[in-house]
């Protein structure tokens, strides 16, 4: 009787684990036409747990047709399950002062297991030179 109970518990646990895990397969062109302008970044990791799950692969930048700085961050989910987080871009001018931005709300994002994903933002005005991106894990 005990074994039967244990067996059904293991089965239920297995089913749950399988439901929670789904990873992403990808395919892309091997010979890249576009060249990403990768920039060196400085990272402050206070939530090692989130960093282990959703890692920052790299940061690249470009200019929009209107002369605004555009920053793209590549993220990769190292786990086999879906991860939810919030991200938030902050912008700074040539004097290092933070630029007021009405569209500064944190953006909820999710990434599938083993998925690689890009997030991006555009500087609120042409005076922006630097940026900072903050990531917070969902509860």
């Amino acid at each position: 009787m005990k074994i039967l109970k244990l067996f059904s518990l293991v089965l239920a646990g297995g089913a749950l684990a399988l439901t929670g895990c789904s990873t992403v397969n990808t395919v892309e062109n091997a010979q890249k036409e576009g060249q990403r302008n990768m920039i060196s970044d400085q990272r402050v990791i206070t939530d090692a747990g989130l960093n282990r799950k959703v890692a920052i692969v790299g940061v690249n930048s470009a200019m929009t047709p209107g002369g605004l700085l555009k920053v793209q961050v590549e993220l990769e989910n190292h786990t086999h399950s879906l991860q939810r987080f919030l991200y938030h871009f902050e912008w700074f001018d040539a004097n290092g002062m933070q630029v007021n931005n009405i569209i500064s709300a944190s953006v909820p994002e999710q990434i599938e297991g083993k998925e690689s994903k890009f997030i991006y933002s555009i500087a609120p005005n042409p005076s922006c030179r630097d940026f900072r991106v903050k990531f917070i894990e969902a509860d």
Partner: protein, 190 residues
């Protein structure tokens, strides 16, 4: 004897349990971790996210830069509400117009009657007709779609926006942001 000790303990624990669940009122930031996610209505952070996506895409497209006399003059047109709730579309359009003004890429035509009156008076006194027509208008639609499977409900809000060139009469930019929420009940956290 055991019951005599156990019952007062349980009675004492019940209020403590309820106190633990209660949350004192405190200030929060829009879009923080504690945001309330409502299944049946558009939350404040949904407007912010839709506006954020629209501004990013609009500025990235460069459509608003293609004017003879920058910054472009924008007039906010009609945002159709096709949802089951009453929506103040300013929660969406105001964020977009402020962001465009802050970018230096566009100015919005005033809707203030006093400002318009002073402008007309100035034109009349100086015998001038200097009214500048808007370069673009911004129009759109908010659509709600509800799907159900048992107790689970998924509500998707589609924010569709179009930037219309008033001279050419064409849409020079279009964007759509879908915000989907799924669950059995509203919750705190995202």
């Amino acid at each position: 004897m055991k019951n005599k000790i156990l019952i007062p303990l349980i009675v004492a624990a019940i209020p403590a349990l309820f106190t633990g669940c209660a949350t004192d009122a405190h200030y929060v930031q829009t879009g923080d971790k504690e945001q309330i996610v409502s299944l049946g209505q558009i939350n404040i952070q949904d407007y912010a996210n839709a506006a954020n996506a629209a501004v990013k895409e609009m500025l990235d497209s460069g459509a608003i830069d293609k004017v003879a006399n920058p910054p472009a003059l924008l007039e906010l047109s009609r945002i159709v509400n096709n949802t089951s709730q009453q929506v103040d579309t300013d929660l969406l359009t105001k964020k977009i117009s402020i962001a465009l003004l802050q970018s230096g890429k566009a100015q919005t035509k005033t809707v203030d009657s006093k400002a318009t009156g002073y402008k007309q008076e100035g034109e009349f006194m100086n015998d001038q007709k200097t009214t500048r027509m808007p370069d673009f208008t911004l129009s759109g639609k908010i659509i709600e779609t509800v799907d159900r499977a048992g107790n689970t409900r998924r509500t998707t809000y589609s924010f569709q926006l179009s930037l219309n060139d008033t001279k050419a009469g064409v849409q020079v930019w279009e964007g759509e942001k879908e915000i989907g929420k799924q669950g059995t009940r509203s919750s705190v956290g995202f």
